[in-house]
């Protein structure tokens, strides 16, 4: 298996991907034991989709997952979706791709007759087209709990109206664009159905090359050799976002990366950075970075320079877009970059595997990727005019939903830096916490907070006691159940509002309350808010006449920060089962947990 994947990693061509898929299928592997690392895929639709499924399957394996794939039959997607006993549902897919060609739904004479159709007729057909796909989606939604990826329609290049297509109220292009818009409108609110912008992807690739007409007429294969792997890559973005494998932070070099030239030699007037050439390419690169910052990507600096020289550019250069306040942490010194990056990860409190490193110098890049293989070290183009295109095509920052916490993350890190400064001046930790004016709000999760809670469950690694990744559907089930409670915790202090940063899922069994999940964003580690959170759960359990609270702990590579949570709050009698779950018990007759005096707890 390793061998097969290594050879396709070297040359991920269509034929190699397909060949690897066939080889892996022939191995008849037993079902994987590690469920958390397993993904079940299904690809269904109106055409021959085995090649697309093969590319998607193998590319998912290249990301380190165990994969099982179901490929739907030729144009049998409706039966597969409607029949609850079909093979599609037997594999219990985590991700379903629905790829329906508009022309398979439209009347055979649609193209021929389009010009003769009235506007009203065209609009009616357009609505039927979109609704035909939407009805399949709604059945899929009610029969599975999977993530559903739906290709939108490719807007055709040809129109019988020629250059006056857009002089028609509903020309050929507007017909398809309109159908896509109906799909987008109807699916906008869904947290499980995602409209994959196939039309945009096809445009970017070149619509004339997305289909090989020989393969299409011979075997109804919709996408060409070169385009199929690219479409699979697009699906991989959703898989990585679903599994929380998202990059969160960009670490930037300065000289010849954020600006042209070397500040220590060329001076502030000499570096290339301005609103005209030379230097505009750097300004535009910085604007792209700022757009990512504004949606929640953390920025940091790692540069070999004299700090005063470099900081002067941030403070005084009129064309510098990114300022000190945009960076969560800076390392401007002569230390080696691998060591600096390790320090940055600690200071920002994120894993090295959520970092991206951008540096023009291939030697620095090699050093960092050798020491920290988990950091994504980008092979930067030599030409700075291509930096912007590079960052815009990186596609590693995807999340399935953007919350208000995401948008404000940058400001939160400024608060964090100020907090650190205060911590350094305080004489004791209690003294520091007392001056923070901490306010914590804990309640059963509301509809409004659910997307954020699901997001935290999906991506929190460090302060996460069991790392159980529940989907939106599963969280909704817990909320409905009388035997479970899903709590959320929001934190506020004098430096700012952190929003919802903690989640706990409690399951009630007889007189025991089991803490199935307990997790907290790394941003609030060290502020004793976890104590307040446990205190609230204890108080609620007492009110419900529970006798014991049982806290579960599953160790992972990343969660040592959470390992002693139960122990330091008075839980005892740890018992570790065969599947590596340790249960810690708190007897409510004997123990209690109080809210720290420096925290003001609000409950709703």
């Amino acid at each position: 298996m390793k061998e097969i994947l290594e050879s396709v990693r070297k040359d991920p061509s269509y034929l190699n991907l397909w060949s690897a898929y066939k080889k892996i299928q022939a191995l008849n592997l037993p079902a994987p034991e590690d469920e958390t690392n397993t993904i079940r895929l299904a690809v269904i639709g109106s055409t021959t989709l085995e090649p697309l499924a093969a590319c998607f399957d193998v590319k998912t394996r290249l990301e380190g997952f165990h994969v099982e794939t179901f490929v739907g039959g030729f144009n049998t997607y409706r039966q597969e979706v409607l029949d609850k006993t079909s093979d599609l549902y037997k594999i219990k897919p985590d991700v379903v791709v629905l790829s329906v060609d508009a022309w398979s739904i439209l009347d055979k004479m649609f193209l021929a007759n389009f010009v003769r159709m009235s506007i009203k007729e065209r609009q009616a057909v357009q609505k039927e087209l979109a609704e035909s796909v939407l009805s399949v989606i709604s059945n899929l939604e009610s029969n599975t709990s999977s993530l559903i990826l739906v290709n939108n329609f490719v807007v055709p290049v040809f129109t019988p109206f020629g250059i006056v297509d857009n002089k028609q109220k509903v020309g050929m292009k507007r017909f398809f664009e309109g159908a896509n818009e109906i799909l987008a409108d109807k699916l906008e609110k869904s947290s499980r159905v995602f409209l994959v912008d196939l039309d945009n992807l096809a445009s970017s690739f070149g619509k004339s090359r997305i289909t090989n007409w020989n393969s299409w007429y011979r075997g109804s294969i919709p996408f060409s050799d070169d385009f199929t792997p690219i479409l699979a890559d697009e699906y991989i973005r959703y898989v990585l976002a679903l599994k929380g494998r998202t990059k969160k932070c960009i670490v930037l070099d300065l000289d010849n990366t954020l600006w042209g030239g070397i500040i220590g030699e060329d001076g502030i007037e000499g570096i290339k950075l301005g609103n005209t050439a030379p230097g505009i390419e750097y300004v535009e690169f910085q604007r792209s970075l700022l757009s990512l910052y504004n949606r929640g990507i953390i920025l940091a600096v790692c540069s070999k320079n004299n700090p005063d020289d470099a900081l002067r550019v941030f403070r005084e250069h009129p064309s510098q877009v990114l300022k000190e306040e945009h960076f969560a942490a800076l390392r401007i010194n002569w230390q080696n970059k691998a060591a600096n990056i390790e320090e940055l990860a600690k200071e920002i409190n994120i894993g090295l595997d959520s970092m991206v490193f951008l540096d023009d110098n291939p030697i620095e890049r090699a050093q960092v990727s050798q020491v920290h293989p988990e950091v994504l070290v980008v092979d930067m183009p030599k030409n700075p005019r291509l930096y912007r295109e590079m960052i815009e095509n990186l596609n590693v920052f995807d999340v399935l939903s953007l919350t208000s916490e995401d948008m404000a993350r940058g400001e939160m890190y400024v608060g964090k830096r100020k907090r650190t400064e205060l911590e350094q001046s305080a004489t004791s930790i209690e003294d520091f916490l007392r001056t923070l004016e901490l306010e914590v709000r804990i309640n059963e999760v509301t509809d409004f907070d659910t997307p954020r809670v699901v997001q935290l469950i999906g991506k929190t690694n460090q302060f996460n006691l069991t790392t159980r990744r529940y989907t939106n559907a599963e969280v909704s089930e817990f909320r409905k159940s009388n035997d479970a409670i899903v709590y959320s915790m929001a934190v506020h202090d004098k430096f700012g509002d952190e929003g919802v940063v903690g989640v706990a899922i409690v399951k009630k069994k007889d007189h025991d309350w089991w803490i199935d999940s307990f997790l907290m964003s790394c941003r609030v580690i060290g502020r004793s808010v976890e104590t307040a959170f446990l205190a609230k759960i204890v108080a609620d359990a007492r009110k419900a006449h529970a006798t014991r609270i049982i806290g579960e702990y599953v160790p992972t590579k990343k969660n040592p920060p959470a390992s002693d949570l139960y122990q330091r709050h008075g839980f005892g009698m740890p018992v570790t089962s065969d599947d590596n779950v340790t249960n810690w018990i708190l007897n409510l007759d004997e123990h209690s947990i109080d809210v720290p005096e420096w925290i003001e707890l609000t409950e709703e």
């Binding site: 034929l15 060949s19 066939k22 021959t48 090649p51 393969s215 011979r218 075997g219």
Partner: protein
């Protein structure tokens, strides 16, 4: 072995997932399980792309052995 033979062998090994020495001229589509209709399509399309030629539908149907494929390919690429 000519350049054409090497390129063709390379495609055949990847499409059928077998070693070079297992590929014989008398390998038959109907007795060789990996040579199913999907593999046949894949093979034809890869050969078309590699040698910048194209097959008529009748030709595609009439390729039953590796020898058949070689014969028709040689006809098409020789000037």
């Amino acid at each position: 072995m000519t350049d054409l033979d090497t390129k063709l062998l390379d495609i055949l090994t990847r499409v059928f997932r077998i070693e070079r020495n297992e590929i014989k001229d008398d390998l038959k589509r109907k007795d060789f399980e990996p040579w199913d209709s999907m593999a046949h399509l894949m093979l034809i399309s890869e050969v078309e792309n590699e040698f910048e030629i194209f097959f008529e539908d009748e030709e595609v149907v009439d390729i039953w052995t590796v020898a058949d494929l070689k014969k028709i390919l040689k006809q098409k690429v020789s000037p």
